[in-house]
Amino acid sequence: MSKKRNSLEIIHDILLTLKRNPTIKKTHLMYKTNLTYVRLNKYLDDLVGKELVAGDEQTVITPKGEQFLKEVRKMREFMDSFGL
């Protein structure tokens, strides 16, 4: 059984999916990131608030979000090294 993702991994997955699929609809984003509608919306609201993604039904990653994606990779590696 695969291990439960932490929130940093989920944020990384959402941003990466949006980067790879710029025209993705929310329903497909939900399937690709393996999140429920409620959880995905919770994360997206947070990311919209931080100006990392934009849009409603068709969500896109912002330039700030792309920059942050690189940052998230570093953060993941850092927390991974501590086993967290």
Partner: protein
């Protein structure tokens, strides 16, 4: 400047550098926590900041003693230094032993208070013993983590924290030979340098 005073000032400068390193790492983990809202990330940040504060207090203590503001070794600042450091290690244990029940955590708090009490009575010996024991749990966790992941960064974290733990162990040897005081400082410096290298590698 007398050699003893020079050495003490160098020691203070090192403590300030260690404060900057641990505080920077704590701030970085806090930044991660801002996005993740993860309890574990918050605890790691708190632990780093507490350890950083203890170094800052120690540097202040050295400076105050060198300049004649304070006399003796067991001043209030020593107690604050020990308290910050032990509390930082206790938070690390709470995190890596995944302690969620306050009944278990309270045992650690009792140990922490006992260490503070004994530091006032005797010397820093009990502080080092408790520090060594408290750090052994995170080090074992990092060892397991390294065995699982086999990455350079997990190895650096393991070596860094194992070094910090060993620097506390080497304090016991001071009873055998006073000159070993330098060994523990050297081990600690190398250990934190490894953590700095780890931080730089990740953020380069």
């Amino acid at each position: 400047m007398a050699p003893g005073l020079l050495l003490s000032n160098i020691n203070s400068a090192v403590e300030v550098m260690l404060f900057l390193l641990t505080f920077t790492m704590g701030a970085y983990v806090f930044r991660i926590h801002k996005f993740t809202k993860n309890r574990n990330h918050k605890l790691l940040a708190i632990a780093f900041i507490l350890i950083g504060l203890s170094f800052m207090t120690k540097a202040g203590l050295n400076f105050a003693v060198n300049n004649g503001f304070l006399f003796g070794n067991f001043s209030l600042i020593t107690i604050i230094y020990v308290a910050f450091m032990l509390f930082g290690y206790t938070v690390l244990d709470k995190l890596f032993l995944n302690i969620r029940t306050y009944r278990v955590f309270s045992i650690q708090i009792i140990l922490f208070v006992l260490a503070l009490f004994l530091v006032q009575l005797s010397s820093l010996w009990f502080f080092d013993l408790v520090s060594f024991l408290l750090l052994s749990f995170p080090v074992l966790y990092f060892f397991e983590n390294y065995k699982k992941k086999r990455t350079r960064s997990s190895l650096l974290v393991l070596l860094g924290f194992a070094g910090v733990m060993m620097s506390h162990a080497s304090f016991f040897l001071i009873f055998v030979n006073k000159s070993l005081f330098f060994v523990d400082n050297l081990i600690r410096l190398v250990a934190y340098a490894i953590l700095l290298v780890h931080y730089v590698f990740i953020n380069k």
